[in-house]
Symmetry: C2
């Protein structure tokens, strides 16, 4: 097996086993090396030895800090998803003020976050196929976003801005999935992809038409139909 050895149940820190001292910089050195190497070649082509040497330690010592190569990536992914979660901010609460502007803001922020760490995101997408731990973490993150979007759609329907239709959860899943795949193609640059400069607007358009049946949804107006 290649899966990470983190004791599945609780994983307070995904990195070192126990206490903390000088080894902290070694840990961050490994992380930094990983991010640097990821910028120049695919994750699969980076060996544990590369990571260790890059951090100035031997291969066995690497195992003192991380249980596997994948665990390093997992730590990197943790950071990115945290940043993405933070980026969402209070956008959802302000949706009714100006739906188009705020949905756009939401998509644009995610785009910026992922784009800022494209190497990590791309690497994760690549190992998700073979690593159950990455798959699990990503599923968890996605589930949070799906729920948030689902709630937003339901709120928009409740205030009469969006028509009924698909179950909000199914719609949220479809839209989030689309974003994920489209971003992946855009960042990876292989296969048909939307130009990076246009991608936010393309995604936004599909979101708006799917949710509101129009690209210019009605602003505020707390009542029912005008």
């Amino acid at each position: 097996m290649t899966t990470a050895r983190t004791p599945t149940g609780a994983a307070p820190t995904r990195g070192r086993r126990a206490g903390r001292s000088t080894g902290d910089d070694r840990e961050t050195a490994i992380l930094a090396t990983a991010e640097r190497l990821l910028a120049e070649r695919p994750f699969a082509d980076i060996s544990i030895d590369d990571l260790a040497r890059g951090a100035g330690i031997s291969r066995p010592t690497f195992y003192f800090y991380f249980p596997s190569k994948d665990a390093v990536l997992l730590t990197l992914l943790d950071r990115v998803t945290e940043e993405a979660d933070a980026a969402a901010g209070d956008v959802f609460e302000r949706l009714a003020e100006d739906p188009r502007a705020h949905w756009r803001e939401l998509i644009a922020r995610f785009h910026a976050t992922f784009g800022g760490h494209r190497d990590v995101v791309l690497a994760c997408a690549q190992v998700r196929g073979t690593n159950a731990e990455v798959r699990r973490l990503w599923a968890e993150v996605l589930e949070r976003w799906v729920r948030a979007v689902q709630a937003a759609i339901e709120a928009e329907r409740a205030r009469g801005a969006a028509p009924d239709g698909l179950p909000a959860r199914d719609l949220a899943i479809a839209l989030n999935s689309m974003n994920e795949r489209v971003w992946y193609a855009t960042f990876a640059g292989d296969g048909p992809a939307v130009a990076e400069r246009d991608v936010v607007d393309v995604l936004l358009d599909v979101w708006l038409t799917a949710i509101y049946r129009t690209t210019t949804p009605p602003v505020t107006t707390s009542g029912g139909t005008p």
Copy 2:
């Protein structure tokens, strides 16, 4: 490197090196073994030895038939995409007759094809991250479908059934990407996914609203706006 060794330029058959004789059944035995094993465990957990033994030959002999494990999967993928291409049939030409029904038919046929070979599709999605050859083939296939959908959207706009909006190509990319990712989640069953029974209708709804701004696009009527 783990990439397939097919002489990149022209690859008439992806399998055996040269002539043909009794070894034909060995080749198909390998393919059959791969498909069988794929049904019970992930591609990464299948060794070349497993494939060879399953086909009743030794590991070195495997290399007589295929240059690598990935090449076997590639051959399997070839079949599936061929079947999917065939499944599209003449649906595109009949779109105007009844857009909703025909778009649905199109999505449903792809769903049936992929669902019928989910193990292969899933395995491909998993190695796409690490294998350039699979990535290239998939990109090629996707490009064909994107072009077809793009043309269909443009035709619907030309006959006045669909409003202008996003560049048809960008829209086609986004919609195809969505389908791919949503199917993957549904078949893999990890992470947020649409129930298999609903997935066609969910996708259809997003396609229709994105293309027509309504889930009930106008039938035939060769003229402009009614």
